[in-house]
């Protein structure tokens, strides 16, 4: 199980499009991926879940991955956050 802290760098926060990109990327991996914000835990493979977190600009989230390809999964999602979901 790997855990890592990620920050939202987009001005608009995580709205429908970035959430869809996160979910699509997460679905490529077989491991269980969860995003945690304060006390809300969501499955990163579900778009509705990621959107419900209402993560705005500068929010810190924790990502947890548990499974055979956990390292690649966390690396891929971290890359998405860093690239600001190719929006800016």
């Amino acid at each position: 199980m790997i855990e890592k802290l990620l920050t939202v760098k987009n001005r608009a926060g995580i709205h429908a499009r970035p959430a869809a990109i996160i979910a699509q990327t997460a679905n490529k991996f077989t491991c269980e991926i969860t995003l945690i914000r304060d006390d809300v835990t969501v499955n990163a493979k579900s778009i509705m879940g990621v959107i419900t977190m209402a993560a705005g600009y500068n929010t810190t989230l924790t990502i947890q991955a548990d499974g055979p390809d956990e390292k690649e999964a966390v690396a891929a999602i971290e890359k998405l956050f860093d690239s600001k979901f190719e929006e800016e």
Partner: protein, 353 residues
């Protein structure tokens, strides 16, 4: 006066619009101001207003309980439940007036020196001047309601029980089928949302998709609802995108909350795995300390899941009424075998007649 008003205005602006059942308890404190701001209707309404000690409105409620401070007012402070909301009704206020006429203010001062959340005066009763002054001094909020004490108590306890109930968010879809609340769980892509969509088409109701917030009330019931009222009845279908079930199917197809009575775990058919083929065992899963019956249903292309879930819901209702179909079947089979054996006891295989 100014600093108080400024403070309250700031607190109100800083506060976001919160509805009763979406207040997060783990991180955020539930303050007396939150209690005043709850928009409750009908027989939930508490009709509270703040009559003194406005600085105390930021104090937090930590326990969902009420205390009537008779013992404390008479001077006995051992095991004084100061964390509870203090209720002053038609028994306490005359005593306050008696203390006022006797000039004894020590017990009142001592009471208010504890870190109590707030004091509520029911029946529109008024506190004595000294009580008001002591409350202002200690920054303790005094609230007043026109309700009777018992009525107010039960309403307050009901509301705070909901707010302080243990909560958890789960990934799954909560639907109501024939009156049975079914929580569909399973990996992403197994078909929970599509199954729920067909169930809605067949006349059942969607409660929440993807993010289900469950809370335990009374220690034996688990209530589930959508975590967010704004996007609650939206569903994401691969290939279709995000659809609004409420708009597509109407208000008869949705529900805001439902008790979780059955948990169904959907998984891809695994040929190596042994699935339950009899149904006499009652498997349960633990949700917030409550044992909820659960089923494991394998998914394979061509299997009609909504029909299977409808049958499961109806079976669950039968079980609740006391009819255990699988068990009755087994007992009938046993009787059948027994009568067969009884006959062979009398008629041996070499008898001829």
């Amino acid at each position: 006066m100014y600093p108080e008003r400024f403070f309250i205005i700031c607190a109100c602006i800083a506060k976001k619009r919160l509805s009763v059942y979406s207040i997060r308890m783990a991180e955020k404190k539930f303050t007396v101001l939150d209690l005043l701001e709850l928009d409750l209707q009908g027989h939930d309404a508490m009709n509270l207003k703040c009559i003194a000690g406005r600085r105390g409105l930021t104090r937090a409620l930590t326990v969902p309980d009420i205390n009537r401070p008779g013992l404390a007012l008479s001077g006995f402070y051992d095991s004084f439940a100061y964390q509870r909301v203090q209720l002053f009704g038609r028994g306490e206020v005359p005593y306050l007036q008696k203390l006022h006429s006797e000039g004894k203010q020590d017990t009142i001062r001592k009471l208010l020196s504890f870190d109590i959340p707030c004091c509520v005066f029911t029946h529109n009763l008024e506190p004595t001047e000294e009580f008001r002054a002591a409350a202002e001094e200690n920054n303790c909020a005094l609230l007043q309601t026109n309700l009777e004490s018992t009525d107010f108590s039960s309403r307050l306890l009901r509301v705070v029980a909901n707010i302080f109930a243990p909560k958890k968010t789960m990934h799954g879809v909560l639907v109501e089928v024939y009156g049975v609340g079914i929580l569909l769980t399973g990996h992403s892509g197994v078909g929970k949302s599509e199954t729920a969509l067909e169930l809605v088409e067949r006349g059942h109701r969607l409660v929440a998709d993807d993010i289900v917030e469950i809370r335990c009330v009374n220690g034996n019931t688990v209530l589930g609802q959508g975590a967010n009222t704004l996007i609650s009845h939206h569903m994401e279908i691969r290939g279709l995108g995000i659809i609004n079930v409420a708009q597509l199917y109407g208000v008869g197809a949705i529900r805001h909350q439902k008790e979780v009575q059955l948990v169904v775990y959907l998984e891809e058919w695994d040929s190596n795995k042994v699935y339950d083929r009899i149904g006499t065992d009652q498997n349960t899963v633990d949700l917030l300390g409550v044992k909820v019956p659960c089923l494991e249903i394998p998914v394979k292309p061509g299997r009609n899941l909504p029909i299977i879930l409808e049958a499961a819901a109806m079976n669950e209702r039968l079980k609740n009424m006391g009819y255990y179909s699988a068990r009755d079947f087994n007992q009938n089979v046993l009787k059948w075998i027994e009568t067969g054996e009884a006959q062979t006891a009398y008629y041996g295989s070499d008898d001829s007649y």
